[in-house]
């Protein structure tokens, strides 16, 4: 069996080597595919903080993904139409600057996670799943009916947004940005796991009564985890929108929430690189199998079934021979 950190290193190396090779042999589409994997991985890393470490099975994380996407879409739309964005009493201009868009995406999704978390964390188990799903559907139908920003058709952004000092129109620099942000999110999750907060959150998932009897409040711990989780997924939404130069209500769809969960389960729940491995496999299957058959999801389903039945620790569990993320 292989130590998890070696697998992680290989995965990371693969994410560097494959796009670099694609750049050399001039296959920009491969770089775009890799970017898609990295962005989905980032969204799933966000969810993994809530789901894997906190034990919060959110079937509504597409809310944050969509909010990040629309934060990008709306700001860039106003920038490209030169129409100011009206926020009630005052107006601001749109922007094409990625750092500002990212910040807005993070703040908006964190605030949404705070509000949704405050309401939904009172419940647990299947009720939590349902209430997060309900929030997801609310946002989804709101986006469909929001005609100012394209309604059902979504919003197209003509040019990718700017990052100081980089030509983001080329696939490689944009991939580099996404990979850097993914690494930052992984470092964030890793440091959280080692921190007092991570210890308490981990315990709150396994034995909430115990956490209460030592004088800590499990609900507050979960709320903070949910907010951090939502913020990371929101950032991924902004990148996803920039990758496609398009946002639409499907970013809010419950299928997307479900896919994020599937990515994590395939890779390994609660494991640092679980979502990364899951996202890579997902994109590879989507591309290769998708070229062979329109029904590639069936095969994804088979893989998911096999993993749930025979490899509870996901691919990482299978490779390391350890079912849980711990010890």
């Amino acid at each position: 069996m292989i130590a998890e950190r070696y697998i992680n290193a290989v995965v990371l190396l693969g994410l560097l080597v494959v796009p670099s090779y694609a750049l050399m042999v001039d296959e920009p589409f491969t770089i775009t595919l890799a970017t898609r994997a990295v962005v989905l991985a980032l969204a799933a890393v966000g969810l993994n903080i809530a789901l894997g470490t906190g034990g919060l099975v959110s079937l509504g994380h597409a809310v944050f993904f969509g909010l990040g996407g629309y934060a990008m879409g709306i700001l860039a739309f106003h920038a490209q139409t030169y129409a100011p964005l009206s926020l009630g009493i005052f107006e601001i201009g749109g922007t094409k600057s990625m750092p500002i868009i990212w910040l807005v995406a993070i703040v908006v999704s964190a605030l949404a996670a705070l509000a949704i978390g405050l309401l939904s964390l009172r419940t647990s188990g299947v009720y939590f799943i349902m209430i997060t799903l309900a929030f997801g559907q609310m946002f989804y139908y709101f986006a469909i009916s929001w005609s100012a920003y394209g309604g059902e058709d979504g919003l197209s952004i003509y040019l990718r947004n700017d990052f100081p000092g980089l030509n983001t129109l080329q696939p490689m620099p944009f991939f580099g940005l996404c990979l850097a942000l993914l690494c930052l999110a992984l470092i964030l999750h890793w440091r959280l796991l080692l921190s007092p907060f991570g210890l308490a959150l981990n315990a709150a998932r396994q034995a909430p009564q115990r956490v209460e009897t030592v004088g800590l409040n499990p609900m507050r711990l979960r709320l903070v985890a949910f907010v951090i989780s939502g913020a990371v997924t929101g950032l991924a939404g902004a990148l996803f929108a920039d990758l496609n130069r398009f946002v639409s209500p499907t970013m809010f769809s419950w299928q997307l929430s479900g896919e994020l969960i599937v990515l994590i389960i395939i890779g390994g729940v609660g494991r640092l690189f679980g979502p990364v491995l899951g996202a890579i496999l997902f994109v590879v299957l989507e591309h290769w199998l998708g070229a062979v058959t329109d029904f590639w999801h069936v095969w994804l389903g088979v893989i998911l079934l096999l993993i749930v039945l025979f490899a509870r620790g996901g691919l990482l569990g299978l490779l390391t021979g350890k079912e849980g993320p711990h010890v």
Binding site: S195, F197, A203, A207, Q209, V211, E212, L216, L221, V327
Partner: protein
């Protein structure tokens, strides 16, 4: 009554038509072990849940010293110095032994919000955690995964987590449950010494342990305290024998 560390006054809890706890007043004084005994279904678990804050009473109050804590939740009572152990071990099974006591130390410190410091590198937390492990003779098992511990060692770990809180009062729900004769003896010896540090409200089925340890015993039957007194009082009480020990007096 006045010097009681922990007390309940006229507690009542009903579930539908059933009066699970019916006007129960018990107290715990410094330096003592006060055992609550009673047959299955007598309301012991309900009583302990109300004392710990997991269950709201319908009437009556819970006091820690001269502070009314009836409206405080479990975590607030823990911060005031209530150290509880569970009948069925409630531990983070995937975590190591050390991590479980570190959680207690973290609760004691009241600082769980440091997001970027390494919990294992915090000397203060670690010292508190290790001290608790040493006291229950678990220092050798520091890095063992909790799920790999034997039942008896898990019970000891339960007590260690409570120790990290430096509680003013312990509330222990069947610490001997499932321990063999040997384990029971070890635990009895340990609790015997512990009472000087903080008094223990002990719920226990193991009568040998109760008679060996308790300074006072209260007998709970059908949600009511039918007798309360020293070990000898209880042994002699005809009513207790009839209601609980099942003997013909």
């Amino acid at each position: 009554m006045s010097d009681a560390v922990l007390s309940t006054k006229n507690l009542v809890k009903t579930f539908g038509a059933l009066k699970a706890i019916d006007d129960v007043s018990v107290d715990l004084r410094p330096g003592e072990i006060h055992a609550i005994i009673g047959p299955n279904g007598a309301g012991k678990s309900t009583l302990i849940a109300q004392i710990a804050g997991a269950l709201r009473p319908d009437a009556g109050s819970v006091w820690m010293g001269d502070r009314d804590v009836t409206r405080l939740d479990t975590s607030a009572r823990a911060r005031l110095g209530l150290g509880r152990t569970f009948q069925i071990s409630a531990l983070a099974m995937e975590d190591t032994v050390l991590e479980n006591v570190l959680l207690g130390a973290l609760g004691h410190s009241g600082k769980p919000w440091r997001l970027f410091r390494k919990v294992h590198a915090d000397a203060e937390l670690r010292a508190r955690a290790m001290a608790a492990l040493e006291r229950v003779q678990l220092a050798d098992a520091t890095h063992t995964r909790t799920s790999a511990l034997s039942h008896g060692l898990r019970r000891q770990l339960e007590v260690a987590v409570a120790l990290t809180l430096n509680p003013r009062a312990f509330v222990m729900d069947e610490p001997m449950a499932g321990l063999g004769a040997e384990g029971s003896k070890v635990m009895t010896g340990f609790l015997d010494g512990l009472r000087q540090e903080a008094p223990i409200l002990l719920i226990e089925h193991d009568m040998d342990a109760v008679f060996a340890l308790a300074d006072r015993i209260s007998v709970l039957v059908y949600g009511q305290v039918i007798a309360s007194g020293t070990v000898d009082d209880i042994r002699r009480s005809a009513e207790v024998r009839r209601a609980y020990l099942g003997e013909d007096a």
